[in-house]
């Protein structure tokens, strides 16, 4: 069976060790986590997790069912028609071209976040595939550090 990439959002009760329940479920059943982001949902007692995972159809179906089976899980959204974004921060040496770096970041929906005496820090938020392209393109400026934020997603409708 073909292995495919999926993005799943999980809405959970915001309680003690709920993240551990989710991650140990993935570990125990041998599922993959490519990226994972978590944050509380404003004005509620719930949190939202966005999990980027890989597996064949049967595995993905099991992941969704098993996530749903956890007692604190309120909702599992298997994204079909989604807008997804990932943030990445990159640090470059100060002797690289600030103007060129800025132009590249702007092409990928970002910009310069900070400049210190030693480093330039940039920030880009775009589709995961484009973030990957950005990171490739930015190699010529000799980045010293890359921090990816993981995928967040929202259904289009």
């Amino acid at each position: 069976m073909k292995v495919e990439r999926r993005v799943i959002s999980v809405i959970v009760q915001n309680e003690h060790s709920v993240l551990a329940r989710i991650t140990s479920l993935f570990a125990a059943r041998g599922y993959n986590i490519e990226t994972l982001t978590v944050a509380p949902i404003p004005e509620s007692d719930m949190s939202r997790l966005t999990i980027e995972t890989k597996g064949n159809v049967r595995v993905i179906e099991q992941i969704i069912k098993q996530l749903h089976k956890l007692i604190p899980t309120y909702k599992v959204i298997e994204h079909e028609e989604m807008v997804e974004k990932e943030m990445v921060m990159m640090k470059f040496p100060i002797n690289e071209s600030l103007a060129n770096i800025q132009a590249l970041c702007e092409a990928y929906n970002g910009g310069i976040a900070n400049v210190s005496s030693q480093h330039i820090i940039t920030m880009v938020a775009d589709e995961p595939k484009r973030v990957k392209h950005f990171i490739e393109a930015a190699q010529r400026f000799h980045p010293v550090e890359i921090v990816r934020g993981g995928v967040v997603a929202m259904e289009r409708e």
């Binding site: 959970v12 009760q13 003690h16 060790s17 551990a20 329940r21 140990s24 125990a28 049967r58 179906e61 099991q62 069912k65 098993q66 749903h68 089976k69 007692i71 604190p72 899980t73 309120y74």
Partner: protein
């Protein structure tokens, strides 16, 4: 009303109607035990090992259908309980296990008898809690019982730090629980049920595949009616034994690795499988790609994640089996013609004539299967049967004449040696008017042998019948078949004198080497109502047959073993 956390635990037991707690005290749970001392609402049974406490609660739950309860202390008390939790989890047994924990102020400091208990139990419980304050305790306890017994049942673990059991708070026990994040689907999809009913009426070679869900949902009566009305033959998994009466002509026997030939052939040749509450365990299916490959599949299960997990399902129905059958049965009755399956029944009957479930009896040595059959003849449905794990377990499943649900208490999923004796104590406590028999092996019995003391002290007369072949029999069998008889660490010729061992603990021991001696021993043990250890010396080399080798196909069984 204000009370301490420890008092809340006792109060909750009372409100949940708990009549028995199995357990073992220790430092972190002493406040709770102090309250146990002061009360008369339930009986506490002191086992001699925490694992046995949880197995006893498990046996109690399986035999009665009620939630089993066990108390243990922190650290080693809890880790000893883990095998019990995992056993109950694999077989979906409703249970609440409460453990003590070091005080909240000391959690994370590697305190004496501290262990991350909820971290450990997370993967072997349906749900667990670390209680943070006495004020949340009433709600958590109510939730624990609710979650354990509802949906797909399972064990729930509540870890209570010592300072929480001393803390005062208001006690308001919720009358009902509504969890927005936990709402098991109990009503099946009516359209799907209708389609399934039509598929049944249109099938030529249908077979019922009955699983543990038939027992746990209390659907055995409906299933019997279903089978009767349709005249469709049925196979049972180990966990479903007793769903149908052993003498029902439509019962093909147990399915799977040590199932009957006709049951496995029925699965292999069926054009429709009506799966009611099974989970397609590898010990049932054998090689998945060859499993029931001609059959369309109807699968009814309370747990959506069981459906389609291993086998593609044509008619998935998520719901409580009882509620689903109440809708499905009338619809099937409208369209079914039992004569339609006559040819199919004849084929299966023929299979059974060719290879019936049998064993070669002997006059020289006692055959283990004979012992089980004999107990069946003498006690029949007057007994509830527990087992340990191994050859004796399979022979029990094959040869005991079960006639009602909850008559077999056995660790199916986890396969826990040492389960049988403590579970049989729980059975006796839950169903005192039946004879509690534990079929065990000379390997398994030693894994919780300390419970002889508990059973004698607590007056829980369990009749342990050791099918003693001086081997770790099932492993020895695999070594015979698949490892050229290299019997690595399976020869148990050195063993205790089980008769004197029983006597040392206040029980009664019998050593049996002939059939006559066995009859006398059993009669004596049952009549006297004592904790008994009947050590039956059986044929050393007997194998469990037929057999589907691991990963093999159901239609290609090993029917006999020739040296």
């Amino acid at each position: 009303m204000e009370m301490t956390g420890a008092q809340m635990v006792i109060e909750a037991m009372k409100l949940e109607g708990v009549d028995t707690v199995f357990g073992y005290p220790g430092g972190a749970i002493m406040n709770v035990y102090d309250e146990i001392y002061k009360q008369n609402d339930f009986r506490h049974i002191l086992t001699r090992h925490e694992q046995a406490a949880v197995h006893a609660a498990d046996g109690y739950a399986r035999a009665t259908g009620k939630v089993g309860v066990a108390f243990v202390t922190s650290g080693p008390g809890f880790t000893n309980a883990v095998t019990g939790l995992a056993t109950a989890y694999m077989d979906s047994v409703p249970m609440v296990v409460i453990s003590g924990q070091v005080p909240i102020t000391m959690i994370g400091t590697d305190a004496f008898q501290e262990i991350d208990a909820t971290g450990i139990s997370r993967s072997c419980t349906k749900h667990n809690y670390l209680v943070r304050s006495a004020k949340e305790l009433p709600h958590i306890l109510k939730e624990a019982f609710y979650i354990a017994a509802s949906g797909r049942p399972g064990p729930v673990h509540v870890d209570i730090p010592k300072d929480v059991t001393a803390e005062l708070a208001k006690f308001e026990y919720p009358t009902h629980i509504d969890l927005p994040t936990y709402r098991p689907t109990t009503k099946g999809n009516v359209r799907q049920i209708k389609k399934a009913a039509e598929a049944i009426c249109n099938a030529k070679r249908p077979v019922f595949y009955l699983g543990g869900g038939v027992i746990s949902s209390g659907s055995a009566d409906l299933v019997r009616e279903f089978v009767q009305a349709t005249q469709i033959p049925a196979v049972e998994t180990l966990m479903a034994r007793g769903s149908l009466r052993h003498d029902d002509p439509l019962l093909l026997g147990m399915v799977g690795m040590h199932g009957s030939y006709q049951a496995n052939m029925a699965m292999s040749e069926a054009d429709l499988m009506i799966a009611l509450g099974p989970r397609f365990d590898d010990r049932v299916t054998g090689k998945l790609s060859e499993f029931a490959k001609h059959a369309k599949v109807i699968h009814v299960d309370i747990d959506p994640s069981s459906i389609g997990k291993l086998v593609d399902v044509d008619y998935p129905i998520v719901g409580d089996l009882k509620e689903v059958l109440e809708v499905m049965l009338p619809k099937v009755k409208e369209c079914v013609d039992p004569d339609r399956y006559q040819a199919w029944r004849n084929i299966l009957k023929r299979y059974n004539e060719i290879h019936p479930m049998r064993f070669e009896d002997s006059d020289e040595v006692i055959k283990p299967q004979w012992v089980i059959k004999r107990v069946g003849e003498i006690l029949g449905d007057k007994a509830i049967i527990s087992t340990d794990v191994g050859q004796h377990q399979m022979w029990t499943a094959q040869f005991y004449p079960f006639s009602h649900p909850r008559q077999l208490v056995t660790s199916g999923g986890l396969g826990t040696m040492g389960f049988g004796f403590p579970a049989a104590m729980g059975v006796k406590r839950g169903v005192p008017d039946k004879v509690s028999v534990n079929f065990t092996g000379d390997g398994s019995i030693l894994m919780n042998i300390q419970e002889l003391v508990t059973a004698v002290e607590a007056r829980l007369p369990v009749v342990n019948i050791i099918l003693n072949n001086h081997y770790l029999g099932m492993v020895r069998q695999w070594q015979t078949f698949f490892y050229d008889k290299r019997y690595a660490e399976t020869d148990l010729s050195f063993q205790p004198d089980f008769v004197r061992l029983a006597e040392a603990c206040g029980g009664v021991g019998y050593r049996v080497e002939t059939k006559e001696e066995f009859d006398e021993a059993l009669e004596d043990a049952v009549n006297k109502g004592v904790v008994a250890m009947i050590d039956v010396i059986v044929d050393r080399e007997e194998n469990v047959l037929p057999m589907v080798p691991s990963g093999g196909t159901l239609y290609n069984m090993m029917l006999e073993y020739k040296d």
